[in-house]
């Protein structure tokens, strides 16, 4: 693939054994990742997890300490940024303030000496519905408009791979939702490979075909959004992608289809195909919206797990649903999301309640519970310090 020609379709991206060390600390360790051509791929993680560094490595703005980067099968590890068939939508948009919108969009085309850059730039601006503002300066546009110009400036080059660095972070909620849909539509229209870096799990789930959850320079889990949500592999994923109630205990019996775990004397059943570990001490969990509140002890049945009695310690109303915090002695505090099907809460603070859920909704993690603390993700002081440091470094890189 040469720089002088447009990519006719998106290309796949392969990262092989990527390692990136900054003076005094390691940002990425042995990262292996394949992004299929034409997909919308989201790299999701907290700030400082190495996702921005990964993106910068792919863009060629940072050199890996080790490993190889392949785009469409071609090794680009040693290519400079301006030689790669990759374009980036920057977090701050990085629109050139001394050029008009049109000049911004035509910049890449002119550098590559592609014919008729002005007409092509207008086309790209039409795609993002901003052609009428082509002669404005970027600073005369609103945040959402600037974002779309940044997108037009990148996709006009028909890169094999488009990188999006938290491009929606600066927009307000409503505009963000709208842009999410627009981005998705444009991606389907132009058929490019999108690599989207974000810390917003909702954004990632709405837009991406595949999500990789990244933590501390490693990929924790990768898969389709629904699969990640329904079957998280680690405590980190279970809590970073939505919320989870997690329990730890030994496996006490195994049948052909399920395992039973003893959690502080109460037996909880998880289907075998939803459990990553099937013997010894395991961590299992269930999503808060899968729980049902009962004000009398439900009759035990095969199809449901029951916990209780517990006491409601907090009720907070959020419109669509109500969140209950229920303290169950010996187990801890559980979160329950209940749809507001009727007026008024189903239980008041102080009420005695039982919790139940369909056995098929539980999941078992791959983590070894001895080093995965129960409710907290994994934020010990050392981790926080490390994340703080790497987030600072990311800031410096971006500043």
């Amino acid at each position: 693939m040469t720089i002088g020609a447009f990519a006719d379709r998106g290309a796949d991206l392969q990262l092989v054994g990527i390692e990136k060390r900054f003076p005094g600390f390691t940002a990425i360790e042995n990262l292996n990742l394949t992004i299929p051509a034409g997909s919308f791929f989201a790299l999701l993680g907290p700030s400082g997890c190495g996702k921005t560094t990964t993106l910068r490595l792919v863009a060629g703005l940072e050199e890996p300490t080790g490993g190889r980067i392949l785009i469409g099968g071609a090794d680009v590890t040693n290519q400079k940024s301006f030689q790669r068939p990759v374009n980036t939508v920057f977090q701050s948009y990085a629109l050139f303030p001394h050029m008009t919108v049109l000049e911004n969009v035509a910049f890449g085309l002119r550098r590559r000496k592609i014919g008729d850059p002005v007409a092509k730039a207008h086309e790209a601006l039409l795609l993002v519905e901003l052609d009428h503002l082509a002669h404005r300066r970027p600073q005369q546009l609103s945040g959402g408009q600037q974002q779309r110009v940044a997108l037009a400036r990148a996709i006009v080059n028909r890169p094999a791979l488009l990188l999006l660095d938290e491009p929606l972070g600066a927009l307000d909620l409503k505009l963000r939702r709208q842009m999410q849909l627009e981005l998705k539509t444009i991606q389907e229209e132009v058929g490019l490979t999108f690599l989207h870096v974000t810390h917003d799990q909702e954004e990632a789930m709405t837009m991406a075909d595949i999500i990789a959850v990244m933590n501390k320079g490693r990929i924790e889990q990768m898969g389709e959004p629904q699969q990640l949500y329904e079957l998280p592999k680690t405590a980190f994923v279970a809590n970073f992608l939505g919320q989870s109630n997690l329990f730890t205990g030994p496996v006490v019996s195994t049948t052909g289809t399920a395992i039973a775990v003893d959690v502080s004397g109460q037996k909880i059943v998880v289907p075998l195909e939803r459990a990553h570990r099937v013997s010894g001490a395991v961590t299992i969990g269930v999503r808060p919206e899968k729980l049902t509140l009962h004000d009398v002890a439900p009759t035990y049945s095969d199809g449901r797990n029951v916990l209780g009695p517990g006491r409601v310690i907090d009720v907070s109303f959020s419109g669509v649903s109500t969140q209950y915090l229920v303290a169950v002695p010996g187990i801890g505090t559980l979160v329950v999301f209940a749809q507001n099907m009727a007026f008024g809460p189903a239980a008041h603070v102080g009420a005695e309640v039982w919790l139940s859920w369909n056995v098929n909704h539980g999941f078992g993690l791959d983590d070894d519970p001895t080093d995965a603390p129960r409710f907290e993700a994994d934020l010990d002081t050392k981790t926080i310090a490390q994340q703080r440091r790497s987030s600072l470094i990311t800031e410096f890189e971006e500043a």
């Binding site: 720089i3 863009a59 060629g60 703005l61 400079k80 940024s81 301006f82 030689q83 990759v86 374009n87 980036t88 920057f90 977090q91 701050s92 990085a94 629109l95 050139f96 303030p97 001394h98 910049f107 890449g108 550098r111 590559r112 404005r136 600073q139 005369q140 546009l141 609103s142 400036r153 080059n157 971006e398 500043a399």
Partner: protein
């Protein structure tokens, strides 16, 4: 009563302070219209003569000195701005050894009294046997302007979002294209400010010039030499003209800047 006094005290004080700053400027300007003879000390009546025939006094010695100052200022400005801008970019953007030593070397010329800078250079030229002329003045002026350029441009480089240059590289710009089309145009206001500052410093410098000028006369040196026997009103004319020109430039920049800001505010 006490309240209104407190309210007015600061504005009145500030107004008086500014008035105080203006007194000698006004004096110089007014005396450029003095129908004076050789020295320009007592008021002898109003005339436009000195403005119309600036270069006719003393065979144009004032204008000669003025021209020298313009020439020296221009050359020193170009040299200092080039060297200083390069250093400023390196300091903000790159890692290198001897960083703190470099900062010290850039800070010291600003912390050294001019008389020491002047005497030091003069001592060096003396021991090397270099004759003092226009060149030695330019060399001296370039030296003390560099640090000021670095400080001015550095602030601009630091406020330049590196993502803009990265975007340039990402959009297929080679290193040179990124510099010429993005970095340089964006740094230009800072570079121009630094150049103006250099020119002003060089144009008005007397102390360092006095040590390194030999027989060459600059505008400030002309005034210093003439001070004992009286300065002709033509010097006031030239100084006032420079003052008015500079004032017009600054006010234009300020007003156009304010208008631009208003236009932007209206659009968004």
């Amino acid at each position: 009563m006490k309240l209104s006094l407190g309210k007015w005290l600061l504005p009145v004080y500030s107004g008086l302070a500014l008035l105080f700053l203006m007194i000698p400027i006004g004096y110089t300007f007014v005396y450029s219209f003095n129908d004076s003879l050789k020295s320009n000390i007592t008021w002898r009546g109003f005339t436009f003569d000195k403005w119309l025939n600036v270069c006719n006094v003393q065979n144009g010695a004032v204008c000669q000195a003025f021209g020298n100052s313009l020439f020296i200022g221009a050359v020193a400005t170009v040299a200092a701005t080039t060297l200083g801008t390069m250093i400023a970019i390196a300091i903000v953007r790159y890692r290198f050894k001897f960083r703190s030593q470099t900062s010290l070397l850039l800070f010291l010329p600003m912390a050294t009294p001019e008389v020491v800078l002047g005497a030091g250079l003069a001592a060096q030229f003396l021991s090397l046997g270099v004759p003092k002329d226009m060149l030695t003045i330019i060399l001296a002026h370039t030296m003390f302007c560099i640090s000021f350029v670095v400080v001015t441009v550095k602030a601009r480089v630091a406020s330049l979002d590196p993502a803009l240059e990265e975007a340039g590289r990402d959009l297929y710009g080679s290193a040179w294209q990124v510099f010429a089309r993005i970095t340089f145009p964006l740094l230009l206001p800072g570079i121009l400010a630094a150049a103006l500052l250099s020119f002003a410093l060089s144009f008005d410098d007397f102390i360092i010039t006095n040590f390194n000028s030999g027989a060459v006369t600059t505008f400030p040196k002309y005034i210093y030499i003439s001070a004992a026997r009286g300065i002709p009103a033509e010097a006031n004319v030239l100084a006032s003209a420079v003052f008015i020109l500079a004032l017009v430039v600054v006010v234009t920049v300020q007003v156009s800047g304010a208008a631009k800001a208003r236009r932007l505010a209206k659009l968004s």
